[in-house]
Amino acid sequence: MQIIKQYWELFLVFFKIGAFTFGGGYAMIPLIRNEVVKKKEWLNDSEFIDMLAIAQSIPGPIALNTALFVGNRRMGFKGSLFSAAGIILPSFIIILLIAILFAQFRDNPLVERIFKGIRPAVVALIAAPLLGLSRSAGVNRKNLWIPLVVALTVWLLKISPIFIILAAILLGLSHLAYLKILMKK
Protein backbone atom coordinates (compact mmCIF):
# COMPACT_ATOMS: atom_id res chain seq x y z
CA MET A 1 0.00 0.00 0.00
CA GLN A 2 2.80 2.37 1.03
CA ILE A 3 4.70 1.63 -2.20
CA ILE A 4 1.68 2.23 -4.40
CA LYS A 5 1.26 5.57 -2.67
CA GLN A 6 4.86 6.52 -3.48
CA TYR A 7 4.46 5.68 -7.17
CA TRP A 8 1.23 7.65 -7.22
CA GLU A 9 2.97 10.60 -5.56
CA LEU A 10 5.71 10.59 -8.24
CA PHE A 11 3.04 10.55 -10.92
CA LEU A 12 1.09 13.39 -9.31
CA VAL A 13 4.05 15.72 -8.76
CA PHE A 14 5.13 15.46 -12.39
CA PHE A 15 1.57 15.63 -13.65
CA LYS A 16 1.30 18.96 -11.87
CA ILE A 17 4.59 20.17 -13.35
CA GLY A 18 3.48 19.05 -16.81
CA ALA A 19 0.11 20.75 -16.48
CA PHE A 20 1.32 24.13 -15.28
CA THR A 21 4.55 24.88 -17.10
CA PHE A 22 4.11 26.86 -20.24
CA GLY A 23 6.98 27.20 -22.67
CA GLY A 24 8.60 23.92 -21.63
CA GLY A 25 12.29 23.33 -20.89
CA TYR A 26 13.98 26.19 -19.11
CA ALA A 27 10.72 27.76 -17.95
CA MET A 28 9.99 24.57 -15.99
CA ILE A 29 13.18 24.58 -13.91
CA PRO A 30 12.02 26.87 -11.04
CA LEU A 31 8.75 24.94 -10.71
CA ILE A 32 10.52 21.56 -10.70
CA ARG A 33 12.96 22.82 -8.07
CA ASN A 34 10.11 24.08 -5.92
CA GLU A 35 8.35 20.69 -6.00
CA VAL A 36 11.28 18.30 -5.90
CA VAL A 37 13.78 20.15 -3.68
CA LYS A 38 11.71 22.43 -1.47
CA LYS A 39 8.39 20.64 -0.96
CA LYS A 40 9.22 16.94 -1.28
CA GLU A 41 12.94 17.09 -0.44
CA TRP A 42 13.64 14.26 -2.87
CA LEU A 43 16.90 15.93 -3.92
CA ASN A 44 19.10 18.56 -2.30
CA ASP A 45 20.24 21.66 -4.17
CA SER A 46 23.58 20.29 -5.33
CA GLU A 47 21.95 17.05 -6.57
CA PHE A 48 19.42 19.21 -8.37
CA ILE A 49 22.19 21.12 -10.18
CA ASP A 50 23.89 17.85 -11.15
CA MET A 51 20.57 16.52 -12.41
CA LEU A 52 20.07 19.59 -14.61
CA ALA A 53 23.52 19.12 -16.11
CA ILE A 54 22.71 15.48 -16.93
CA ALA A 55 19.21 16.30 -18.22
CA GLN A 56 20.70 18.83 -20.62
CA SER A 57 23.57 16.59 -21.70
CA ILE A 58 21.44 13.75 -23.02
CA PRO A 59 18.98 14.18 -25.91
CA GLY A 60 15.23 14.63 -25.46
CA PRO A 61 12.99 17.19 -23.77
CA ILE A 62 14.64 18.53 -20.60
CA ALA A 63 11.40 18.21 -18.60
CA LEU A 64 11.15 14.51 -19.50
CA ASN A 65 14.80 13.88 -18.65
CA THR A 66 14.32 15.57 -15.28
CA ALA A 67 11.22 13.48 -14.53
CA LEU A 68 13.03 10.28 -15.52
CA PHE A 69 16.00 11.10 -13.31
CA VAL A 70 13.93 11.88 -10.21
CA GLY A 71 11.67 8.85 -10.74
CA ASN A 72 14.63 6.55 -11.17
CA ARG A 73 16.52 7.87 -8.15
CA ARG A 74 13.49 7.49 -5.91
CA MET A 75 11.86 4.29 -7.05
CA GLY A 76 14.11 2.76 -9.73
CA PHE A 77 13.10 2.02 -13.33
CA LYS A 78 9.41 1.60 -12.49
CA GLY A 79 9.47 4.92 -10.68
CA SER A 80 10.80 6.60 -13.83
CA LEU A 81 7.87 5.15 -15.79
CA PHE A 82 5.40 6.75 -13.36
CA SER A 83 7.10 10.15 -13.35
CA ALA A 84 7.40 10.06 -17.16
CA ALA A 85 3.69 9.25 -17.49
CA GLY A 86 2.96 12.18 -15.20
CA ILE A 87 4.94 14.68 -17.24
CA ILE A 88 3.63 13.39 -20.60
CA LEU A 89 -0.11 13.06 -19.93
CA PRO A 90 -1.19 16.71 -19.45
CA SER A 91 0.16 17.92 -22.79
CA PHE A 92 -0.98 14.71 -24.48
CA ILE A 93 -4.57 15.23 -23.38
CA ILE A 94 -4.63 18.97 -24.11
CA ILE A 95 -3.01 18.74 -27.56
CA LEU A 96 -5.16 15.78 -28.55
CA LEU A 97 -8.31 17.78 -27.76
CA ILE A 98 -6.94 20.75 -29.70
CA ALA A 99 -5.99 18.54 -32.67
CA ILE A 100 -9.48 17.03 -32.78
CA LEU A 101 -11.23 20.41 -32.46
CA PHE A 102 -8.78 22.34 -34.64
CA ALA A 103 -9.37 19.99 -37.56
CA GLN A 104 -12.94 21.33 -37.73
CA PHE A 105 -12.00 25.03 -37.53
CA ARG A 106 -8.85 25.08 -39.61
CA ASP A 107 -10.50 26.23 -42.84
CA ASN A 108 -12.62 28.82 -41.09
CA PRO A 109 -11.57 32.24 -42.53
CA LEU A 110 -11.69 33.83 -39.08
CA VAL A 111 -9.20 31.29 -37.69
CA GLU A 112 -6.98 31.77 -40.75
CA ARG A 113 -6.87 35.55 -40.12
CA ILE A 114 -5.93 35.00 -36.47
CA PHE A 115 -3.12 32.63 -37.41
CA LYS A 116 -1.86 35.00 -40.10
CA GLY A 117 -1.10 37.38 -37.23
CA ILE A 118 0.30 34.68 -34.96
CA ARG A 119 2.77 33.01 -37.38
CA PRO A 120 5.31 35.87 -37.59
CA ALA A 121 4.99 36.28 -33.80
CA VAL A 122 5.99 32.62 -33.34
CA VAL A 123 9.17 33.18 -35.36
CA ALA A 124 9.97 36.23 -33.22
CA LEU A 125 9.46 34.20 -30.03
CA ILE A 126 11.94 31.59 -31.27
CA ALA A 127 14.51 34.26 -32.20
CA ALA A 128 14.15 36.42 -29.07
CA PRO A 129 15.95 34.20 -26.50
CA LEU A 130 18.94 33.59 -28.82
CA LEU A 131 21.12 36.30 -27.29
CA GLY A 132 20.55 35.20 -23.68
CA LEU A 133 20.97 31.52 -24.60
CA SER A 134 24.24 32.27 -26.44
CA ARG A 135 25.65 33.71 -23.26
CA SER A 136 24.69 30.70 -21.13
CA ALA A 137 25.98 28.30 -23.80
CA GLY A 138 29.37 29.99 -23.58
CA VAL A 139 29.39 31.49 -27.09
CA ASN A 140 32.30 33.95 -27.41
CA ARG A 141 34.39 35.55 -30.16
CA LYS A 142 36.50 32.44 -30.58
CA ASN A 143 33.63 29.98 -31.10
CA LEU A 144 31.05 32.29 -32.68
CA TRP A 145 31.76 30.58 -36.01
CA ILE A 146 30.11 27.38 -34.72
CA PRO A 147 26.52 28.70 -34.36
CA LEU A 148 26.93 30.77 -37.54
CA VAL A 149 28.08 27.82 -39.66
CA VAL A 150 25.37 25.57 -38.16
CA ALA A 151 22.57 28.09 -38.72
CA LEU A 152 23.59 28.78 -42.32
CA THR A 153 24.23 25.18 -43.36
CA VAL A 154 20.99 23.88 -41.85
CA TRP A 155 18.98 26.78 -43.26
CA LEU A 156 20.48 27.21 -46.74
CA LEU A 157 22.14 23.88 -47.55
CA LYS A 158 19.45 21.80 -45.77
CA ILE A 159 22.11 19.85 -43.89
CA SER A 160 20.43 17.41 -41.49
CA PRO A 161 20.49 18.49 -37.82
CA ILE A 162 21.40 14.87 -37.01
CA PHE A 163 24.61 15.29 -39.01
CA ILE A 164 25.32 18.57 -37.20
CA ILE A 165 24.87 16.96 -33.77
CA LEU A 166 27.14 14.03 -34.65
CA ALA A 167 29.78 16.33 -36.18
CA ALA A 168 29.74 18.59 -33.10
CA ILE A 169 30.27 15.63 -30.74
CA LEU A 170 33.04 14.25 -32.94
CA LEU A 171 34.75 17.64 -33.17
CA GLY A 172 34.65 18.03 -29.38
CA LEU A 173 36.08 14.54 -28.81
CA SER A 174 38.84 14.88 -31.39
CA HIS A 175 39.81 18.28 -30.01
CA LEU A 176 40.43 16.70 -26.60
CA ALA A 177 42.24 13.73 -28.16
CA TYR A 178 44.46 16.15 -30.07
CA LEU A 179 45.27 18.06 -26.86
CA LYS A 180 46.15 14.79 -25.10
CA ILE A 181 48.52 13.75 -27.89
CA LEU A 182 50.18 17.18 -27.76
CA MET A 183 50.69 16.82 -24.01
CA LYS A 184 52.36 13.43 -24.36
CA LYS A 185 54.94 14.74 -26.80
Binding site: Y26, I58, N72, S91, I94, V122, L152
Partner: protein
Protein backbone atom coordinates in the same frame (compact mmCIF):
# COMPACT_ATOMS: atom_id res chain seq x y z
CA UNK B 1 -1.49 -2.28 -44.31
CA UNK B 2 -1.17 1.35 -45.32
CA UNK B 3 -2.01 2.31 -41.74
CA UNK B 4 0.63 0.00 -40.23
CA UNK B 5 3.26 1.47 -42.58
CA UNK B 6 2.29 4.98 -41.51
CA UNK B 7 2.51 4.02 -37.82
CA UNK B 8 5.97 2.54 -38.37
CA UNK B 9 7.16 5.63 -40.27
CA UNK B 10 5.79 7.91 -37.53
CA UNK B 11 7.44 5.80 -34.83
CA UNK B 12 10.83 5.84 -36.56
CA UNK B 13 10.71 9.60 -37.22
CA UNK B 14 9.85 10.51 -33.65
CA UNK B 15 12.35 8.00 -32.26
CA UNK B 16 15.03 9.80 -34.32
CA UNK B 17 13.78 13.16 -33.03
CA UNK B 18 14.06 11.91 -29.45
CA UNK B 19 17.48 10.37 -30.02
CA UNK B 20 19.10 13.39 -31.67
CA UNK B 21 17.09 16.12 -29.95
CA UNK B 22 19.91 17.64 -27.93
CA UNK B 23 19.16 20.91 -26.16
CA UNK B 24 15.40 20.29 -25.92
CA UNK B 25 12.71 22.81 -26.87
CA UNK B 26 13.43 25.09 -29.82
CA UNK B 27 16.68 23.28 -30.58
CA UNK B 28 14.55 20.27 -31.59
CA UNK B 29 12.48 22.30 -34.08
CA UNK B 30 14.77 22.00 -37.14
CA UNK B 31 14.92 18.24 -36.61
CA UNK B 32 11.12 17.94 -36.24
CA UNK B 33 10.54 20.18 -39.25
CA UNK B 34 12.96 18.18 -41.39
CA UNK B 35 11.29 14.88 -40.52
CA UNK B 36 7.62 15.81 -40.64
CA UNK B 37 7.53 18.65 -43.21
CA UNK B 38 10.42 18.05 -45.60
CA UNK B 39 11.05 14.29 -45.59
CA UNK B 40 7.53 12.94 -45.06
CA UNK B 41 5.24 15.87 -45.89
CA UNK B 42 2.83 14.93 -43.10
CA UNK B 43 2.04 18.61 -42.55
CA UNK B 44 2.75 21.96 -44.28
CA UNK B 45 5.15 24.66 -43.04
CA UNK B 46 2.18 26.86 -42.08
CA UNK B 47 0.62 24.01 -40.06
CA UNK B 48 3.98 23.37 -38.43
CA UNK B 49 4.19 27.02 -37.40
CA UNK B 50 0.66 26.76 -36.00
CA UNK B 51 1.73 23.77 -33.88
CA UNK B 52 4.62 25.80 -32.48
CA UNK B 53 2.13 28.61 -31.71
CA UNK B 54 -0.19 26.13 -29.97
CA UNK B 55 2.82 24.72 -28.05
CA UNK B 56 3.72 28.18 -26.84
CA UNK B 57 0.23 28.74 -25.46
CA UNK B 58 -0.30 25.32 -23.87
CA UNK B 59 1.71 23.61 -21.12
CA UNK B 60 4.32 20.96 -21.82
CA UNK B 61 7.45 20.50 -23.94
CA UNK B 62 7.26 21.31 -27.67
CA UNK B 63 8.50 17.83 -28.61
CA UNK B 64 5.50 16.17 -26.90
CA UNK B 65 3.08 18.71 -28.30
CA UNK B 66 4.24 18.17 -31.87
CA UNK B 67 4.33 14.39 -31.43
CA UNK B 68 0.74 14.35 -30.21
CA UNK B 69 -0.52 16.77 -32.86
CA UNK B 70 1.32 15.29 -35.84
CA UNK B 71 0.51 11.71 -34.82
CA UNK B 72 -3.16 12.58 -34.89
CA UNK B 73 -3.26 14.75 -37.99
CA UNK B 74 -1.01 12.58 -40.18
CA UNK B 75 -3.31 9.59 -39.58
CA UNK B 76 -6.65 11.42 -39.91
CA UNK B 77 -5.48 13.36 -43.02
CA UNK B 78 -5.14 9.98 -44.72
CA UNK B 79 -8.82 9.35 -44.08
CA UNK B 80 -8.66 7.17 -40.97
CA UNK B 81 -11.05 7.82 -38.08
CA UNK B 82 -10.41 9.63 -34.77
CA UNK B 83 -9.59 6.43 -32.84
CA UNK B 84 -6.73 5.57 -35.20
CA UNK B 85 -5.56 9.20 -34.92
CA UNK B 86 -5.38 8.94 -31.12
CA UNK B 87 -3.34 5.75 -31.48
CA UNK B 88 -1.03 7.67 -33.83
CA UNK B 89 -0.58 10.36 -31.17
CA UNK B 90 0.26 7.74 -28.56
CA UNK B 91 2.78 6.04 -30.87
CA UNK B 92 4.59 9.31 -31.63
CA UNK B 93 4.65 10.38 -27.97
CA UNK B 94 6.08 7.00 -26.90
CA UNK B 95 8.62 7.03 -29.73
CA UNK B 96 9.94 10.48 -28.83
CA UNK B 97 10.26 9.47 -25.14
CA UNK B 98 11.92 6.04 -25.47
CA UNK B 99 15.49 7.28 -26.25
CA UNK B 100 15.46 9.46 -23.11
CA UNK B 101 14.10 6.56 -21.05
CA UNK B 102 16.87 4.23 -22.21
CA UNK B 103 19.67 6.79 -21.81
CA UNK B 104 18.52 8.05 -18.42
CA UNK B 105 18.16 4.48 -17.14
CA UNK B 106 21.76 3.80 -18.19
CA UNK B 107 22.98 7.04 -16.62
CA UNK B 108 21.29 6.23 -13.32
CA UNK B 109 22.35 2.56 -13.35
CA UNK B 110 26.03 3.16 -13.94
CA UNK B 111 26.15 6.39 -12.06
CA UNK B 112 28.03 7.96 -14.89
CA UNK B 113 29.46 11.09 -13.44
CA UNK B 114 28.78 12.82 -16.71
CA UNK B 115 29.52 16.17 -15.17
CA UNK B 116 33.25 16.66 -14.96
CA UNK B 117 34.11 13.87 -17.37
CA UNK B 118 36.62 15.54 -19.73
CA UNK B 119 35.29 13.76 -22.87
CA UNK B 120 31.75 14.79 -22.02
CA UNK B 121 32.83 18.37 -21.27
CA UNK B 122 34.78 18.60 -24.51
CA UNK B 123 31.81 17.35 -26.60
CA UNK B 124 29.50 19.79 -24.84
CA UNK B 125 31.85 22.70 -25.50
CA UNK B 126 31.12 22.29 -29.22
CA UNK B 127 27.59 20.91 -28.89
CA UNK B 128 26.25 23.86 -26.89
CA UNK B 129 27.21 26.59 -29.41
CA UNK B 130 25.98 24.27 -32.21
CA UNK B 131 22.58 24.07 -30.49
CA UNK B 132 22.37 27.89 -30.57
CA UNK B 133 22.92 27.63 -34.33
CA UNK B 134 20.12 25.04 -34.58
CA UNK B 135 17.68 27.36 -32.79
CA UNK B 136 18.67 30.20 -35.13
CA UNK B 137 18.10 27.93 -38.13
CA UNK B 138 14.62 27.09 -36.80
CA UNK B 139 13.75 30.80 -36.87
CA UNK B 140 15.32 31.30 -40.31
CA UNK B 141 13.52 28.31 -41.85
CA UNK B 142 10.15 29.60 -40.65
CA UNK B 143 10.81 33.06 -42.18
CA UNK B 144 9.27 32.13 -45.51
CA UNK B 145 6.40 33.19 -47.75
CA UNK B 146 3.92 30.96 -45.96
CA UNK B 147 4.40 32.70 -42.64
CA UNK B 148 5.38 36.18 -43.87
CA UNK B 149 2.74 37.11 -46.42
CA UNK B 150 3.34 40.88 -46.59
CA UNK B 151 4.91 43.89 -44.82
CA UNK B 152 2.37 43.59 -41.97
CA UNK B 153 3.90 40.24 -41.01
CA UNK B 154 7.27 41.95 -40.60
CA UNK B 155 5.74 44.64 -38.40
CA UNK B 156 4.22 41.98 -36.12
CA UNK B 157 7.57 40.15 -36.12
CA UNK B 158 9.50 43.31 -35.12
CA UNK B 159 7.10 44.34 -32.38
CA UNK B 160 6.91 40.85 -30.85
CA UNK B 161 10.70 40.43 -31.04
CA UNK B 162 11.26 43.70 -29.17
CA UNK B 163 8.56 42.92 -26.59
CA UNK B 164 9.86 39.40 -26.05
CA UNK B 165 13.43 40.62 -25.50
CA UNK B 166 11.90 42.91 -22.86
CA UNK B 167 10.47 39.74 -21.21
CA UNK B 168 6.79 40.30 -22.03
CA UNK B 169 4.86 37.05 -21.44
CA UNK B 170 4.88 34.92 -24.64
CA UNK B 171 1.28 33.77 -24.14
CA UNK B 172 0.10 37.38 -24.01
CA UNK B 173 2.13 38.15 -27.16
CA UNK B 174 0.54 35.23 -29.04
CA UNK B 175 -2.95 36.33 -28.01
CA UNK B 176 -2.27 39.96 -29.00
CA UNK B 177 -0.83 38.99 -32.37
CA UNK B 178 -3.94 36.88 -32.99
CA UNK B 179 -6.03 40.01 -32.39
CA UNK B 180 -3.63 41.95 -34.64
CA UNK B 181 -4.25 39.35 -37.36
CA UNK B 182 -8.02 39.92 -37.11
CA UNK B 183 -7.61 43.70 -37.30
CA UNK B 184 -4.88 43.85 -39.99
CA UNK B 185 -6.41 41.30 -42.36
CA UNK B 186 -10.05 42.28 -42.89
CA UNK B 187 -11.92 39.98 -45.23
Amino acid sequence: MELIDLYIALFLSFFKIGLFGFGGGYAMLPLIQREVVELHGWISVADFTDIVAISQTTPGPIAFNSATYIGYSAVTEMGFTTGYGILGSAICTLAVSIPSLILMTLVCAFFFRLKGNPWMESSLSVLKPAIIGLIASAALMLMNGNNFTDYKSWIIFGVVLAASVKKVDPILLILLSGVAGLLLYPT
